[in-house]
């Protein structure tokens, strides 16, 4: 059913008009012009589209937009607050934890959800949290190191 939906995305209240069962990814990218969440598989298998929904890593390509109503959504686009980068963004830049950067959104947002519930995760916990996120360039170890670095960042 096509209707108006009220969403809270990156600390902004927005209204969109679309079918309520459209995957949230398309609404975030096309209606809200967000760049962070990426289309990778549309099947919830690769993690490129992850956003935080009430702090939980959520695959927006298999989440109907109506499921976002009444929640707080945070995307990579909104992770830096007032120009201050998130500790994960700083660490990913410092360690060059990306080659093509296409999976990076999912890596950072999945790691963000992990750090929200576990301030100082072990390497094993980081690998396990990221295991459902695919990277084809082979940057995995740098990504793990960047999450470790961010977890030790006092400004986190």
């Amino acid at each position: 059913m096509t209707r108006y939906l009220s969403l809270d995305v990156d600390n902004k209240k927005v209204q969109v008009h679309c079918d309520e069962d459209v995957p949230a990814l398309y609404v975030l990218r096309n209606d809200l012009a967000l760049n962070g969440p990426k289309f990778g598989c549309g099947l919830g298998q690769c993690g490129a589209c992850v956003v935080l929904v009430d702090g939980n890593a959520t695959r927006s390509c298999v989440t109907p937009v109506s499921a976002l109503e009444g929640t707080k959504v945070v995307t990579l686009d909104g992770l830096a607050v007032n120009g201050k980068l998130d500790a994960l963004q700083r660490a990913f830049i410092q360690l060059e934890a990306a080659q093509c950067g296409y999976c990076t959104n999912g890596m950072i947002m999945t790691a963000k959800a992990l750090l929200l519930r576990e301030k100082h995760p072990s390497e094993e916990q980081i690998r396990s949290a990221l295991n459902g996120n695919l990277c084809r360039c082979g940057v995995h170890n740098r990504i793990v190191a960047a999450v470790q670095m961010a977890s030790m960042d006092k400004a986190q």
Binding site: P23, N30, C46, Q99, Y102, G138, H140
Partner: protein
């Protein structure tokens, strides 16, 4: 072919002419064809002769460099910016890069084969050195002082008496300063003067990606943009025999239903509307016929039955008297079809407006793509532009070019509206070119002293090169379904040392007698194309696994055995570097659990040297293998960006292990059945060990591409490690638990 003839052509022209003229071309010795000859004019100057075609400096002192090469995730723009900044004496942050744009950049053919540093890097190095000299001369006459009294500090020209002027201010006074022919007469800096090249430099493209600044093609939004999807047949080669567009046209948001021959596509206002419309088209369309695909369970036997053309790759020492042969050893290795596996499926944006077609694409070859697009859509080339925009990592010929034609065909149906065309995940897996399955068969004779005295080798493969611009065909997927007679090119003959399926088929060892044959499969029921290293991966894999089998027969340590067949000091240096990093045990007792494997190769026989050692642990109950540790050493000649080389080498190792451990394209007799990540699994975080890469810097040697050097050795070292743990070789990829269980049962 002499150097002077080769110098005036691009790699693409070279390949094209080779394809037409050279039926079978073999070199028994590697040549330095692709390497920089210091002092020679860079190959890319042949097509872009004007200096301001490479460098422009604006009044605000921003240096814009132009390259025909594309950022594919490999960090090339950063390396090129470093080279230009070094020669111009500016900071890397002052450089902007325009890349692979037919409307305003140099034609440097394709971005492939790890040649961007060798080609674009050498052009920009010399052009930048010339530009600096032009500015010094201009400042010298502006101030009426001797040029020797002038220095340059971060883009500011400084006279000995303290007067200063920026490049930009001088360029603003004389707009034609850089409007002149390029010359190779200005000597670039010598390597000991380097302050930027050779030091790790932050990737210029990464912060924007990490901050979601919208740099990807998928992020492109244009006013009035609409969304497209294409609908492929159920079986490759099937013909559309019935389709009624009327119901689809009436769906919400649908702007256009494109039906040309057997090509089907839709355009809608919203992306989800385009997806729903494409589902409706799929449900409505009726198809007939199509290719019969080979039996995937008897793939090697099927490949050997394909129609083929036999080529001699190398034949040496046939008349030489060699030592008597004490042992003959034979082995055959196989590899399945592999997917590119980019995380982002292909995408394109196209706009047809006022008679001009502009396509934004993540192609590896903007210029060759433009020519084929123009031909298929029926426009003159000068009314078509292709602009490279970055997308998901590119490891070879993915669906980018095909998506560009799809988008163009849809854009022509909605004139004035930009169309964003996105392939779905199954489009990418099932319809982009995949890397050919291969069979490699080796036979060698060992002397009583354990030396290789005779080596013969056969490789069977479909072509690894089916790109737009190749002769004898039109290599764009949709073109074949327009019912206009477009077909794929015949297999491209790429001479050694580059090679096609025979890349790296000539061992990098000193062998007195070799006989190497390439059986080019001419039947192609499954569309194949280029993936990182072309045939290099499989040939390195087969040769390096076979070297281990030979070492075992000779009763020698695998590394010691290799060193006895190597004289190249750079080869020996990477082998020794890995041996000492691993603390390689010479007389280790097998425990049936841990396995160590080693492999070495020089990519394309003329490029990067790489040695890799892998340690695995085998669980004999579950038959699962865990990779515990990887050590590698690479020599890429003069290093431009050490961290970039490390990152590329690490990435190659991860991909090489993933191919060997997990990857296999699956198919039925009618279609590709690996259509998502559950049917085409790749390596994940918990399977990746610590990886240590040593980069041996050779500042006096030409720079070599780093993108592909470690992949073959990584796969081979992994296979050798598994063989060491299992106690016998497994010669078929991927090394699954089932194959390990079978090997343990024997």
């Amino acid at each position: 072919m002499s150097r002077s003839q080769n110098r005036g052509t691009t790699r693409r022209d070279f390949l094209v002419s080779a394809g037409i003229l050279v039926a079978s071309f073999s070199l028994s010795r590697p040549t330095a064809m692709a390497q920089i000859v210091e002092g020679a004019a860079p190959i890319s100057f042949a097509k872009t002769k004007r200096l301001d075609g490479w460098i422009r400096i604006s009044a605000d002192n921003v240096v814009t460099i132009f390259t025909g090469k594309a950022e594919l995730g490999q960090g090339i723009l950063t390396a090129l910016a470093q080279i230009a900044a070094e020669e111009l004496d500016v900071g890397v942050e002052m450089i902007r890069v325009i890349s692979a744009d037919t409307s305003r950049g140099p034609d440097e053919g394709y971005t492939y084969g790890s040649q961007s540093i060798e080609q674009s890097g050498s052009a920009l190095r010399i052009a930048s050195a010339q530009a600096r000299a032009v500015f010094v001369a201009a400042a010298s006459s502006y101030w009426s002082i001797d040029a020797r009294a002038i220095t340059i500090d971060k883009g500011v020209i400084v006279a000995a008496d303290g007067r200063r002027i920026t490049y930009g201010a001088l360029a603003a006074q004389d707009k034609d300063l850089l409007s002149r022919d390029v010359t190779s007469s200005i000597r670039p800096k010598s390597t000991d003067e380097y302050r930027i090249v050779g030091r790790s430099t932050a990737r210029i493209d990464l912060p924007d990606k990490i901050l979601a600044k919208g740099v990807f093609l998928q992020d492109m939004r244009q006013p009035g943009m609409v969304f497209g999807r294409v609908i492929r047949p159920p079986t490759p080669g099937a013909k559309l025999v019935g389709f009624d567009p009327s119901a689809v046209r009436a769906m919400p948001g649908v702007l256009s239903v494109v039906h040309i021959g057997s090509f089907l596509g839709v355009v809608a206002e919203r992306e989800e509307q385009a997806i729903r419309a494409s589902d409706a088209v799929r449900a409505n369309a009726r198809w007939e016929g199509g290719e019969k695909l080979p039996n995937e369970n008897e793939l090697a036997a099927e490949l050997l039955r394909f129609a083929k053309e036999d080529l001699i790759v190398a034949q040496t020492g046939r008349t030489t008297q060699t030592a008597p042969i004490a042992h003959w050893v034979e082995a055959t290795y196989t590899r399945p079809y592999l997917s590119q596996g980019s995380i982002g499926p292909s995408c394109a944006v196209a706009r047809f407006s006022a008679g001009r077609l502009t396509v934004w694409s993540h192609t590896q070859g903007a210029f060759p793509l433009r020519a084929d697009l123009a031909k298929v859509v029926g426009l003159p080339v000068n009314l078509v532009d292709v602009v490279h925009v970055q997308a998901s990592g590119c490891y070879g010929h993915n669906g980018a070019d095909d998506a560009a034609l799809d988008a163009a065909l849809l854009a022509l149906s909605v004139e004035g509206r930009p169309v964003k065309l996105q392939w779905m995940r199954d489009d990418e897996f099932a319809w982009s070119p995949i890397s050919p399955a291969m069979v490699m068969s080796a036979k060698a004779g060992l002397s009583a002293e354990g030396r290789i005295v005779d080596w013969s080798y056969d490789v069977w493969s479909n072509t690894h090169a089916t790109r737009p611009g190749q002769p004898g065909g039109t290599n764009l997927l949709a073109a074949w379904y327009l019912n206009k007679g477009y077909t794929v090119s015949p297999p491209l003959h790429i001479p050694q040392p580059f090679g096609n399926g025979d890349r790296n088929a000539v061992p990098c060892y000193d062998l007195p007698r070799v006989n190497i044959a390439h059986h080019v499969l001419t039947a192609m029921p499954i569309r194949t194309g280029s993936l990182r290293t072309l045939g290099g991966h499989s040939n390195i894999l087969a040769i390096e696994c076979f070297m281990d089998e030979l070492a075992a027969v000779a009763g020698e340590d695998p590394i010691a055995f290799r060193l006895k067949h190597l004289t190249d000091v750079r080869a020996k240096a990477v082998v020794e570097a890995v041996r000492s990093a691993t603390g390689w045990p010479v007389d280790r007792k097998r425990d049936g659990k841990t396995g160590r494997g080693f492999a070495y190769a020089r990519y394309k026989n003329i490029s990067t040297y790489a040695a890799v050692a892998v340690e695995v642990e085998l669980d004999r109950t579950t038959c699962n293998v865990t990779v515990k540790k990887v050590h590698a050493a690479v020599d890429v000649g003069r290093v431009i960006n050490p961290d970039g080389v490390k990152s590329q080498s690490e990435g190659g190792i991860v991909q090489g292990i993933s191919w060997a451990m997990k990857e296999r394209m699956r198919f039925s007799q009618h279609k590709i059945t690996s259509t998502d990540w559950s049917t085409y699994p790749i390596i994940t975080f918990d399977e990746i060990p610590q990886i240590d890469v040593v980069v041996l810097d050779r500042p006096k040697e030409p720079s070599l591409g780093a993108g592909e050097g470690t992949i073959g050795p990584a796969s081979a070292a992994f296979m050798n490690a598994v063989a060491d743990a299992v106690g016998r070789p497994i010669r078929d990829l991927p090394i699954t638990s089932e194959r390990i269980r079978d090997a343990l049962r024997i």
